[in-house]
């Protein structure tokens, strides 16, 4: 097993510190996209990483899987915080500056990965792309998306699910890699 993954899974401080050193900018970006306040966003990163590290799954994946898992935990932590504090204004504000991938020249966490992402998103059917972008970049709920695009809730779920699976084929799985 990867040394970092092993250290993290065994709850050694080294595992947490290395994960933080490698990915904290990504995690903070994920949190700040949802919570505008910097201190609150840092709290989310702190709380999410510490919680997972204290009670880790028996993680048997690789380093990239651990990164993705932790990013998911940070995002869910931030969304939970947002919902708990009922910062609807903040959500609306974030939703208003939707879809950073459409801003080609905007700085991003990973410019190379962003280019790949833009291409993959562009190849999605429009209705799937819109649903996914409203969900991830707009921080909207399924219900909000359904209302916005005037489609049944089940349809929205299916569109997002399909979009994610297609993106996996394009961006993540080796056989689907075009780059």
């Amino acid at each position: 097993m990867d040394e970092l993954v092993e250290a993290f899974a065994e709850r050694r401080p080294l595992g947490l510190e290395q994960a933080y050193a490698l990915w904290s900018p990504l995690f903070l970006s994920v949190a700040r996209h949802i919570i505008s306040d910097r201190a609150d966003a840092e709290d989310c990163v702190h709380d999410a990483l510490l919680r997972v590290w204290r009670a880790p799954n028996r993680f048997s994946g690789n380093r990239e899987m651990l990164k993705a898992y932790l990013a998911t935990c940070v995002r869910n932590e931030a969304l939970t915080t947002l919902r708990r504090e009922s910062r609807h204004d903040a959500r609306a504000l974030k939703a208003a500056r939707l879809a950073p991938v459409s801003a080609v020249d905007a700085p991003s966490v990973d410019p190379v990965e962003t280019q790949r992402l833009q291409g993959a998103l562009a190849r999605l059917p429009e209705e799937q792309r819109i649903a996914l972008m409203l969900a991830y970049y707009g921080n909207k709920t399924q219900v909000e998306i359904a209302k916005e695009v005037d489609a049944p809730l089940g349809t929205i779920k299916s569109r997002i699910s399909m979009a994610m699976r297609k993106l996996h084929t394009e961006l993540v799985s080796p056989e689907g890699s075009r780059w």
Binding site: E10, P25, E42, T72, P107
Partner: protein, 214 residues
């Protein structure tokens, strides 16, 4: 429980689109179902890719310092928390079986049984309610691996020591006594060959039985 896969929720989960209950169900289910765990992991990888396009952010030095201090202030009680997901998974399985009374008890018990937890989490399993065999029966269920590699017997309010036996047309094999755990009693088995019939005895009297199908 593994018949009820998470489906599209696998992709919604890493996006934070599920409510608390649905998210918890995904977390618990993937602890037991490798197929769904893989699907969720793939969706998490996509979500991480989506994050690449977010505006960059630089954490303050204070955050790293705080995280280090928090980590080092915690006891290194590896055994305390490292089994949590497995206990949770088992509790979820039991909740689905209508054994809510058992979940907390099981969690405590399983935290002390690493082997049992690892075994259960990495398995697909079936469950069966045990049929009463006396006027004073016991409410009990059996979870068992589809490959026959393990069997977990759970009895509610056993009302005395319960002894488990494997029963075939040719012989009856002693499987052991269920261990009391709060209001319940449980027994984990790793049989060498598939057991197709189990009977529970209390004071030498059959009180419940079940047939296992693979």
């Amino acid at each position: 429980m593994t018949e009820h896969h998470v489906g599209e929720d696998a992709e919604l989960y890493p996006l934070g689109l599920l409510d608390d209950d649905a998210a918890r169900n995904v977390e618990l289910h993937i602890a037991l179902c490798s197929a769904c765990a893989q699907r969720v992991a793939q969706a998490q990888a996509v979500a991480a890719s989506l994050a690449a396009a977010l505006p960059p952010a630089t954490p303050s030095p204070a955050l790293e310092r705080r995280l280090r201090e928090s980590a080092r202030s915690q006891p290194s009680a590896k055994s305390r928390a490292s089994l949590f997901p497995f206990a949770l998974a088992a509790a979820f399985a039991l909740a689905l079986l209508g054994l809510g009374w058992q979940t907390l008890v099981l969690r405590e018990r399983l935290q002390s049984d690493d082997v049992a937890l690892v075994t259960m989490v990495h398995s697909h399993f079936n469950h069966v309610s045990m049929a009463p065999e006396s006027a004073n029966p016991v409410a009990a269920k059996i979870l068992y691996a589809r490959d026959g590699s393990w069997i977990y017997i759970i009895a509610d309010k056993p009302g005395g020591a319960l002894h488990a036996f494997a029963r075939t047309s040719a012989a009856t094999t002693d499987l052991g006594v269920l261990a009391r755990s709060g209001e319940a009693a449980t027994l984990l088995l790793h049989p060498r060959e598939r057991i197709r019939s189990i009977v529970l005895q209390r004071a030498g009297t059959n009180v419940a039985s079940a047939k296992l199908t693979y």
